[in-house]
């Protein structure tokens, strides 16, 4: 993400005091700990012009918990603030896009990721059936309700493999970690890549 943003003439700063935004604690039912981490996030990122996260889930959480902060999910920042759709990337592969629940239903990023992917040189976007269905990750849900999580994942992996894509991409590493773990367990040839890795490729 650093390389991509610098290529687009942004000055990128990484504040090394940052840790976790608190979403995991909050969503798992540890409210006080989660809110303390939001508070910490506020302090660490004070004064930034824009806070860009390569995670719809974290961006959505911070936007809800600290609405005064200028937090953007990466594709929002690229299309809305920088006004670019063609980021000058080249990635000659067949890719399907999994719209994660938080990009779709919390941030409402709409077709921003698809527009960005559509402008990547050599890249072919292949459609993913039942794309809006949750992949089954859900944070601690993946462990607490591992059987249901797995049943949801298997259906998603079937759709991904049926799409004919070489790569499945999305705006959330957490969902990709879950899907990638399932794909490798299956011995599938399909790989996971975060959206920003594709957009940074030249």
């Amino acid at each position: 993400m650093v390389e991509l943003l610098e290529r687009l003439d942004c000055t990128v700063e990484f504040r090394q005091e940052q840790t976790c935004c608190g979403q995991m604690h909050l969503n798992a039912g540890y409210r006080d700990e989660g809110l303390a981490l939001v508070e910490r996030f506020r302090g660490v990122f004070a004064g930034a012009d824009a806070i860009v996260a390569p995670s719809a889930s974290c961006a959505g959480h911070v936007r809800a918990a600290a609405p005064e902060l200028p937090v953007y999910e990466l594709t929002e920042y690229l299309t809305d603030v920088l006004g670019v759709v063609d980021v000058g990337a080249r990635f000659p592969h067949r890719v399907c896009y999994h719209p994660t629940c938080h990009s779709l239903r919390e941030l409402h990023v709409g077709d921003r990721p698809q527009r960005l992917l559509g402008s990547v040189g050599g890249l072919e976007v292949v459609p993913l059936a039942d794309a809006d269905q949750c992949c089954g990750f859900g944070g601690t849900f993946a462990v607490k309700n591992a059987d249901v999580s797995t049943a949801m994942m298997e259906d998603k992996l079937d759709r991904i493999e049926q799409s004919g894509a070489e790569i499945v991409t999305s705006a959330d590493n957490s969902c990709l970690m879950h899907l990638g773990g399932g794909l490798r367990r299956r011995g599938s040839a399909v790989r996971t890549m975060h959206l920003v890795e594709i957009l940074a490729a030249t």
Partner: protein, 457 residues
Amino acid sequence: MSAARRSSASFPSAARVELGRTQLRRNLGHATATIRRKRLATVGELADWEELREAGRVIKDRTMRSLDRHLEEFERAFTAAGGEVHWARDADEANAITVAIALRHGATEVVKVKSLTTDEIGLNDALAAAGVDAIETDFAELILQLDGDWSSHILVPAIHRNRTEIRDLFRRTIGDAELTDDPSQLAETARRHLRERFLRARVGISGANFAVAETGSLVVLESEGNGRMCTTLPNVLISVVGIEKLVPRWEDLEVFLQLLPRSSTGERMNPYTSVWSGPVEGDGPREMHVILLDNGRTRVLADAVGRQALHCIRCSACLNVCPVYERTGGHAYGSIYPGPIGAILTPQLEGIDHAPSLPFASSLCGACEEACPVKIEIPRVLVHLRGKAPKPRAERRAFAALAWAFADRRRYERGQRLARLGRGLGRLGPLRGWTASRELPQVPDTSFRDWWRDRGA
């Protein structure tokens, strides 16, 4: 275990059993996909759908703020029209009132409209204990009653059953041996069985979808017409109504009668809408009772975040779009209120200690909130209830340790280094749930932080 609960198993272990039933998963996957498609099509016809949802939300929100006033207004209006209003604090009180009325009229049999509220209080069992047979007249409820089964869906109680299973059940119980699985034959069998019971019943029992305060009216929406028979043929009608079913004005129905059918069955209008406002000379029941039921609702009302669960109009759209419900079915939730709405309603009505696993029975994907016709923020309430739920000690310790590590950069970085060293340890301990079906993530040799620092140097 109170009456709304049908099982005390935790959600994860009940879900594991249900996931193993391949026929159930096929039935559910097919049924929910069909209803989802129909709902999207009919909802898409209305240009003002979002305004309707907002209107529904606002009416419910305002009603709850002065529920006491609306309830008393309803009582005045219904009483003035010649009906009788009873107040029940809990299931036992509501059951006792109903049983007393039935016995007073010498009933040994009552006919029932499909009603979740009477299921919640376990009314059929209470009636049976007093020697009164409660006959479910909704087609799906009849199926379940004949089989000693229980509802797995708010609107389509036998959604987990297919035609062949129903044919076999009817052959064993109310049908003859030549019965096929043709839907019209199955329906005819049920119709013949029920018709004589409708005609001889002295007492009918219903719930209500809405109770209108200003006119003292009860409203029941249904698809089969059996509800109309239950509410018109017997001499006595008893309706058990949760206090959250109130709407202040007659014109509020304009909003809900559009929202409910489109959200529930994907129909523009439901086939039968019955409305009654007290007995009418020479037509229908001569005696009408309403039992206004609390049974935990005022406690829910006291929770500023959780109270929106009471706005639910029982359309079941959230069940049909829920990826968890679609795979586990309703029984895994162990309550007559299953799915996302059940996951926030049951723990609140009964107390979180009675259903501590339900708020976690969700990936928080948000499909439920998006589909809800009265915009209940189900994920937000789930998270709120997770905060109140008792959690295992090992988990509490792990989250405390994480919070401690996240509170300080150096501790956090040490943790990252440990994670790189500890690759492969995840097959043990709490991460077993992960590694049973997934590989652990490949942790890169160089962390982003190291890369960043080297780059600056």
